[in-house]
Amino acid sequence: MSSRLPPVLGEWIDRSQSLTIRFDGQRYAGHPGDVVSSALWAAGVRVLGRSFKYHRPRGILSLANHDVNTLMTDDAHINLRGDVSPLAEGMDLRAVNTAGGARADRRRLFDKLSAFMPVGFYYKAFHRPKALAHFWERFFRRMAGLGEINVDSPRLYTPKRYDFRDLLVIGAGPSGLAAGLCAAHSGASVLIVEENAQAGGSLGYARGGSDTNHERLEELLAQAKQLPHLEIRTGTCAVGYYADHWIALVEAQRMTTLRARAVIVSTGVMDQPAVFRNNDAPGVMFASAAQRLIYRYAVKPMHRAVVLTANSEGYEAALDLDRHGIGVGAVLDLRPEGESTDLAQRVTSANIRVLKGYGVSEAIARNDRLTGVRIFSVDGQARLPIPNSEVLSCDGLLMSVGFAPAAALLYQAGARMSYSEITHQFYPRELPKGVFAAGRVNGVFDLPYRLEDGKRAAQEAVRYLGFSTQPNPIVPPQRRWPTHPYPIFAHPDGKNFVDFDEDLQLKDFANAAQEGFDNIELMKRYSTVGMGPSQGKHSNMNAIRILANLRGETVDKVGTTTSRPFYHPVALAHLSGRGFHPVRRTPLHSLHAELGAAWMPAGNWQRPEYYARSDQDKNECVRGEVRAVRESLGLIDVGTLGKMDLYGPAAGEFLERVYAGRCANLKVGMTRYGVMLDESGVIIDDGVMARLSDQHFYFTTTTTGSATVYRELTRWNTLWRMDCGIVNLTGAFSAMNLAGPKARDLLAKLTDLDLSHASFPYLGVREAQVADVPCRLLRVGFVGELGYEIHTPAEHAHHLWTALMAAGNALGIRPFGVEAQRLLRLEKGHIIIGQDTDGLTTPLEARMEWAIKMDKPFFVGQRSLRIVAPRQRKQVLVGFTLDKSHSGAVPKECHLIIRGNDIAGRVTSIAFSETLGCHIGLAFIIPELAEEGTAFAIRADAGKMVSAVVAKAPFYDPSAQRQRDY
């Protein structure tokens, strides 16, 4: 039977269309504009979920995402909130964490066992005997969790964006709207965000049986339309406040990160539950929830109601029910003196019985539905239960006993909140610069005052923003405190819930305190109060009151727990947005692809590891590339190397300071290898420096080092103020290494430069046109053959590579990748920073004394080297070979060198050299074993011991003839 009301003024639903969904397998209908909970409630469903621990039946409590009674799951959503999720055609929802659905949940027997499960019970057991611990661990793991993941649901990319405003107003209730309107008049750009589907807040649903509030709302919205600077964004929740007015706004499809210059928080308040036995029975709900059901969704919350209240809001709710034909059995007013406003009169004249000084001792439910409430007179010393106390029959109980400010964002912004013993509410005592609070979150409750307070905040904000110079207005203090100081009634039979998420009962708090967890933070951690998905929205306030009560201290003294983002949970896809991952490409990228490059990552670059050939496996390809370099000609893209220009009179002197070797004496037209250290003397980078003119050096860094080296060098020069300028050409320049016996023959075809050894010797550098494009040629021998590293502006690279390959065809040129280069350089005994060195390697351990000049006046790292130089090395880098006849397990990089039972070093590089016919490598080894010819043992995979011999590097062409005097 449907509880849908006849059309209600301002309802959000569209009756012209109907939608069908499934919940726990049953089909239900609703309308566009419904949320899942409203549609189900309209269809008479009362059990929308089961509680986390005891699996108790749960219905609508707040209908505002202040609890998770209505947590559901489908194939797309892990934990969908029925109270705020718009109804969509075809939804197929299940209540989370049940065995057999919300209604039939087989785990509901846990409720009977609750006596065995007091606060923190899981700490008290299940860990012994040790043998059983794992069983229990697995059991609890099974029981844990709420919604289920669906591995097949796709990665969602969301159009996250930045936004900017002078003023952000959070919450489009009366005070927020008043504030936004007022501020927009000043010329400031204003955005009002509202988490609900429509603006208005309580103006829309708290009507006290009349239409005036609704009409007032229409007015405000009409005025807003007139203001060009003012935007109202509904369905948008401010979930987090971060430094410098940086606010995360979450909409259905995306997150917007907004930078405001000032913020007005008008987020209102959250209804707080009364704590009594069975206060979680389906049918017991906040007054505001019932009003939302009526005015937003035109749903009858119940057929016969009782109202438990301590404020005018409860009386208004009673009138709202009455107006829509819902019988109100009684208004129970916790206040002995009752209601002072004319609402009292209006309620009695509606023939509604009012019982002053009365409360509810327990709710009575049958078949998971509320059937009545047992009432009692709250004054006097009486302890519950009170014998034969009256039961009022009803299928719905409205709670309106007080509020807690929705102040999460204020806390996050750094506001100081205090508890007022008059209003019995936390209020912002001190606000940070540019942050303002208005309306009920600011402790202002009567509508006219809330509108005034909104204007007041707006005027302060625009003044702060410099749009006005008027002095801040004073708002007359109001005199109405709707919040009850202690709406908590102990019942010996318990089941009086404080935290509905976590199934925490009143006694759990006393017990936690008894165990010593009587500090709010400790209590939170031990009892987990406020740690559920709704993050304490409906439970923290009562928890604090209970603790204050237990400790006999004021609420203010007890204080609150820290409020952290997020106010409402945020989906990972909203946070990640599109997830940008910048990658770099050399200008030769497409050519490598065409040549069949097998890619490997190098920092944020992609480099060809080798060039795949259909008829060969990786090793064959690599060997082929190596052979090409050794026997004829190879070409490799080394454009990922860092490349820097350094100009100026002090250029040489500058390099002297940042490289460990000698630089200033480098002759024009020559190059030199250099190693760079940090201040502790550890190797951080290496490269080749070339002197193109007296005041012009060009030098390279490692691929991964380029950005950091450039940054650090510019910092040094900011400090030293030397007369030179550094330019980072890493991306602007391409570089390719042409290597092999026939390198000169090829180059000769493409350039007029005199390549003869006499005029362009080994380690020389020249600037010349190659294939009609300007190039810098460095004659270096990293791979141990006659070679030219050719550097050219990026936009010419494609042309140059193509020309070289074309001209090289006849000479058997072959492109080679990183893998071949690694072997080639290993044959030459050249180290790779980061592979043959680690985070603590000094040039002394790397045996690179030849590359450091301690007699220089200064270089970065020198002073530290002076300290460690006299010391015995812990380890040194040596070359080694395996026996030519070696077969079986081959050590890998980072396999350990073992002497006796001790670690005596590790392999840093190893490969099989076809040229030399054996495995060669580099290793760190203790000095005792570093002597050339010393045999040592490497522990390879599966513990196989392999013997190796320390050998002199370079292994190939030690005299460097092939690259030198060719």
């Binding site: 892990i78 934990n79 006596a115 065995f116 499960m117 007091p118 700490y123 008290k124 057991a125 860990h127 012994r128 005997p129 040790k130 611990a133 609890f140 844990a144 969790g145 919604g147 993941i149 591995v151 649901s153 796709p154 969602l156 987090g240 430094a243 995360a248 709250v378 006097g380 009486a382 519950l384 202690y486 102990a490 006694k507 006393a510 008894q514 010593g516 009587d518 500090n519 933070e521 400790l522 998905p533 993050q535 983002p565 997020f566 949970p569 989906a571 990972l572 896809a573 946070l575 990640s576 997830g579 990552p601 502790s680 680690d838 603590l840 460690v868 010391r871 990089e893 670690i903 522990r939």
Partner: protein, 440 residues
């Protein structure tokens, strides 16, 4: 309103019988039964809250976090030193002990590190029994993912050192990873394909708060005084010796002070004029809504700056690398959550609609070589337990063991010799840094 619970009894320090129960099988059943049977809640106070400070103690421990309480516990249990005060400026276990992501492992890179953390993992095994408190210690297996061959090399290095020292640790391939976690996207959305991983079977998680409570209760039972809301304002040093401690609740004379305050260490070192390489950066984390268990192992990826595990409550506990600059506060940033979310989805794309409920931060006390600073200091009677950066929780038991030994004997415990403060001046750094891109 007189309908208020009578909880007076809750405030007398009385000790329940369960403390001297033998660890037998029925005790579990009893553990729960007693709640149902007894009319009054049968549990005693876990830790006493003494009214006032005594004028003198044999030793003062600054910081009632895991490390401080563990040290107090072992001082009392193993050395009978019970006339000890643990001073806490805020509340017990409220610092990084309650903020970390509870990962426990010993697959470090250096022999010093491995031996140290391995002892810690060993001690964790029996802790629940020692405490008679369920710590939800849960062995899940720990994967450190390698997305580049360089990382793969480092992983092999760690695996080899670990194996050499008898720690269960190995280099595994993608197929092994898929078997342990079929849900993972091995290509990481194409831009960081997983080449392999360092697999550490003993990798575990535990309920971090409970560890602190267990040590606290154990220490308190044995007579140690835990003073919360008691801030140390100065340390009285005369002739290079500690003679007393100034606090917001009065002066204490003592000859031994242990400093175990993580992110606050530099402030305390200042009180005794010691300089150190410690620098403080926030470490942030976030947690998802509870979901039905699906993620068994713990995953760490240095390249993606991610570590993630699923807690006993079903929440995904997620973290990333340190914040990029010094800050002595625990504020959260949105860019952290944004970046971490993107990387989590690279590994587990189907989590797109999974909700993050809360983010938080701790203050990590970092060192240049990613190893702690422990032991004696140039100030006689002042002992340091610091440099815990992002790896302090897993060391809680062994830090307590070794620091209690060090304090009692005034001699550095063998396990921590490599972590001495003087190693920096001596250029004898330990090499953990190589292994720790994301050091959890």
């Amino acid at each position: 309103m007189n309908l208020i619970l009578d909880t007076k009894s809750g405030f007398q320090p009385e000790y329940g019988s369960q403390f001297n129960q033998p660890p037998d099988a029925i005790s579990m059943a009893f553990g729960l039964l007693r709640f149902a049977l007894s009319r009054d809640y049968p549990e005693a106070r876990m830790f006493r809250t003494p009214e006032r400070l005594k004028p003198t103690y044999d030793a003062v421990i600054i910081g009632a976090g895991g490390h401080g309480l563990a040290s107090a516990y072992y001082l009392a249990r193993d050395y009978g030193l019970t006339h000890v005060a643990v001073l806490e400026r805020n509340y017990l276990g409220g610092g990084n002990t309650g903020r970390n992501t509870t990962i426990i492992r010993s697959n470090y890179l250096t022999p010093e590190g491995v031996a140290f953390y391995d002892e810690s993992v060993r001690l964790f095994q029996d802790l629940a029994q020692d405490f008679d408190l369920n710590l939800f210690y849960s062995t899940r297996g720990h994967f450190t993912l390698a997305h580049t061959d360089a990382t793969l090399r480092t992983m092999r290095w760690r695996a080899e050192v670990n194996k050499h020292l008898g720690v269960d640790s190995e280099l595994v391939g993608p197929e092994f990873i898929t078997r342990a976690c079929p849900q993972i996207d091995l290509t990481c959305n194409g831009h960081a394909p997983i080449l392999g991983a360092l697999y550490h079977a003993p990798g575990a998680i535990a309920r971090h708060d409970a560890v602190a409570w267990g040590y606290g209760r154990g220490a308190s039972q044995r007579g140690v005084e835990i003073h919360q809301q008691t801030e140390v304002t100065g340390i009285d040093v005369r002739g290079g010796k500690v003679v007393g401690v100034k606090t917001t609740r009065g002066y204490i004379s003592t000859s031994k002070v242990l400093c175990a305050v993580a992110g606050f260490t530099p402030r305390v070192l200042n009180m005794v004029d010691l300089r150190s390489p410690l620098y403080i950066h926030p470490l942030q984390a976030m947690v998802s809504e509870p979901m039905k268990p699906w993620l068994d192992p713990i995953f760490v990826s240095g390249s993606l700056h991610v570590y993630v595990s699923q807690s006993a409550r079903g929440e995904l506990v997620m973290g990333a690398s340190l914040d990029p600059y010094e800050l002595h506060s625990t504020r959260s940033t949105l860019d952290f959550a944004e970046g971490l979310a993107a990387h989590i989805l690279d590994m587990f794309p189907f989590l797109s609609t999974a909700n993050v409920v809360r983010q938080w931060a701790g203050m990590a006390d970092m060192t240049p070589d990613f190893a702690p600073i422990m032991g004696k200091t140039p100030v006689e009677g002042f002992y340091l337990d610091a440099g815990w950066g992002t790896w302090g929780f897993k060391a809680t038991p062994v830090a307590g063991k070794t620091m209690s030994y060090t304090l009692f004997n005034d001699r550095d415990h063998d396990l921590i010799k490599g972590f001495r403060l003087s190693r920096f001046a001596e250029y004898e750094l330990t090499g953990e840094k190589g292994a720790a891109a994301v050091g959890h």
